[in-house]
């Protein structure tokens, strides 16, 4: 067995494409390579070489410089500029005294040169060296890819508790340097915060067996988490019976407010059958209160070295919590920060609007400036309250029970 083939028998043969318009030279080089236990193919010009490279995926290209049509320099440059072939070693075959060609070859990205007339020993030595380098490069590339897969897998696992698998996959797939999205865990960001909690559960928990409480809470959180993940929200915390979900974090979401409202509605709707069953079984009513607010927060990994939690901190989170506390069962209270965004669209999305079974009203007295829109969806009734000192001009319209449309086009005095 030859020098080059020894010890490689178990591996796939190293494949070399010889590109030369002189069939005698191409045949000569191919013969020497085959004698060394390598696999050799030939191409008579540049275009043929590119076609064969795409199909054969050789490990090395030996190419004449002067050919009809595109020169060896042109083909080399093209190979080096394309991602799929950038690492494919190219040896240009040039006359020994042709220094100009060598300089042009280097500029074109050639990995090495072989002198014409070709000496057998030189060819073998060059190919041997390049084969070793190519194999090391391939091994390193393999390790790099394996490390990247492992790193992404770790990120996916680490964040699976916060974000939906679908969002994690999208971030990992689409974001260049996606790990930075997760690793840069201390930054300021504009987010939409959603707080939700379970109304009536405290009383319910006093009447059901202790062994049932945790499964019931798990059932409740399962529905809420699914609603959050369906809308690509990030679940930041669950404490007691409340849950904090963020949008526009860790990756930007142009429709973050819409996602938050959709999530809140989905939470109410998904929980409705569970609440109906609990009511039938235990005789007590439960519901979900939701508060939504938008604004700038600090996003970070907070905690002790032994226990850290990815979370959002800031006034919008506190406001969302307070709005949640003010919400009645199955009411979504939207704060002034979130209201600034696409108010009309959110109102239009309410279940009652446009279907004649909802109603919109403007509260008087201390609730002046709060607009409610109520609607029915399946077994659930939900109400959305837009809470804002001044709603502003040209804001929204809602259809009332009798089919009349309630228009608002002025500034509403706030109740805060």
């Amino acid at each position: 067995m030859s020098d080059l083939a020894s010890g490689q028998a178990a591996q796939t043969a190293f494949r070399v494409l010889v590109v030369d318009d002189d069939p005698d030279m191409a045949g000569f080089l191919a013969r020497l390579l085959v004698q060394q236990g390598l696999q050799a193919d030939t191409a008579a010009d540049g275009p043929a070489a590119l076609a064969r490279i795409a199909v054969l995926q050789p490990d090395l290209v030996l190419m004449d410089v002067q050919m009809p049509g595109p020169s060896g320099f042109d083909i080399c440059r093209r190979l080096k500029s394309q991602e799929a072939t950038a690492l494919l070693p190219v040896v240009l075959v040039t006359a020994l005294e042709d220094h100009e060609s060598r300089v042009r070859g280097i500029e074109a990205g050639a990995d090495d040169f072989l002198s014409k007339p070709v000496r057998r020993e030189e060819l073998i030595a060059r190919v041997k060296t390049l084969r070793r380098l190519h194999e090391i490069r391939k091994e390193l590339e393999g390790r790099r890819l394996a490390a990247e897969v492992q790193r992404k897998d770790e990120i996916r696992k680490a964040f699976a508790r916060y974000i939906s698998p679908r969002l994690a996959e999208r971030v990992l797939r689409e974001s260049r340097g996606s790990e930075e999205v997760f690793r840069n865990l201390s930054n300021r960001a504009a987010v939409v915060a959603l707080f939700a909690d379970l109304r009536g559960f405290t009383r319910l928990s006093e009447t059901v067996p202790v062994s049932s409480i945790v499964p019931m809470l798990n059932e409740y959180f399962t529905e809420l988490t699914s609603a959050a993940h369906d809308n690509e929200g990030t679940v930041f915390s669950m404490a007691g019976d409340s849950m904090l979900v963020g949008f526009n974090v860790p990756v930007p979401q142009a429709d973050a407010t819409g996602r938050a409202v959709a999530t809140a509605r989905a939470m109410i709707q998904r929980f409705a059958p569970v609440a109906a069953r609990w009511r039938a079984e235990h005789g007590l009513a439960t519901g979900i209160g939701v508060g939504i607010e938008a604004g700038e927060v600090v996003v970070g990994n907070v905690g002790a070295p032994s226990f850290m939690s990815y979370t959002i901190i800031g006034d919008p989170v506190n406001v969302a919590a307070r709005l949640m506390q003010r919400a009645e069962p199955n009411e979504i209270v939207i704060g002034p920060g979130a209201e600034r965004l696409d108010l009309h669209d959110r109102l239009r999305a309410l279940p009652g609007h446009g279907r004649g079974n909802g109603r919109a009203r403007r509260n008087g007295g201390t609730a002046a400036g709060r607009w409610h829109a109520e609607g029915a969806a399946g077994d659930s009734r939900e109400r959305v309250t837009l809470e804002r000192p001044g709603i502003g001009a040209g804001a929204f319209s809602c259809r009332a029970d009798n089919g009349a449309t309630a228009q608002h086009a002025g500034t509403v005095a706030g109740d805060r």
Binding site: D22, P23, D24, M25, G27, F28, R31, Q35, D64, Q66, V93, A95, K116, P117, V118, R120
Partner: protein, 101 residues
């Protein structure tokens, strides 16, 4: 010119390639003559360059030497040098005797 054979030693493992190689050299000679008759210096230069590269690779040193003469003659548009080189090539191909080792 002498009638003595010009011995050329070629590696045994290239023996099966040599008949085609020699056939191509004779074709090349015809093409060189036609190009010279047409005054096509660019074609002569290319042919000379190719001879220079392939000749010695197979062990035919004089093919490379004559290739360089043709290439240089074409670059300089030196008809006399080209005619001499082609004549020498004609004589060489007539007398070359290949020995395989």
């Amino acid at each position: 010119m002498s009638d003595q054979p010009i011995p050329v030693t070629v590696a045994k493992d290239l023996e099966d390639l040599i008949p085609t190689f020699m056939k191509n050299r004779h074709k090349e000679l015809e093409t060189l003559r036609a190009a010279l008759a047409a005054g096509d210096m660019e074609q002569l230069r290319q042919l000379g360059h190719r001879m220079k590269g392939v000749g010695n690779s197979y062990g035919f040193e004089l093919v490379s030497v004559l290739g360089k003469k043709v290439e240089d003659g074409a670059k300089a548009t030196d008809r006399a040098a080209l005619e001499a080189g082609i004549a020498e090539y004609t004589d060489y191909l007539a007398r070359v005797k290949i020995v395989y080792e």
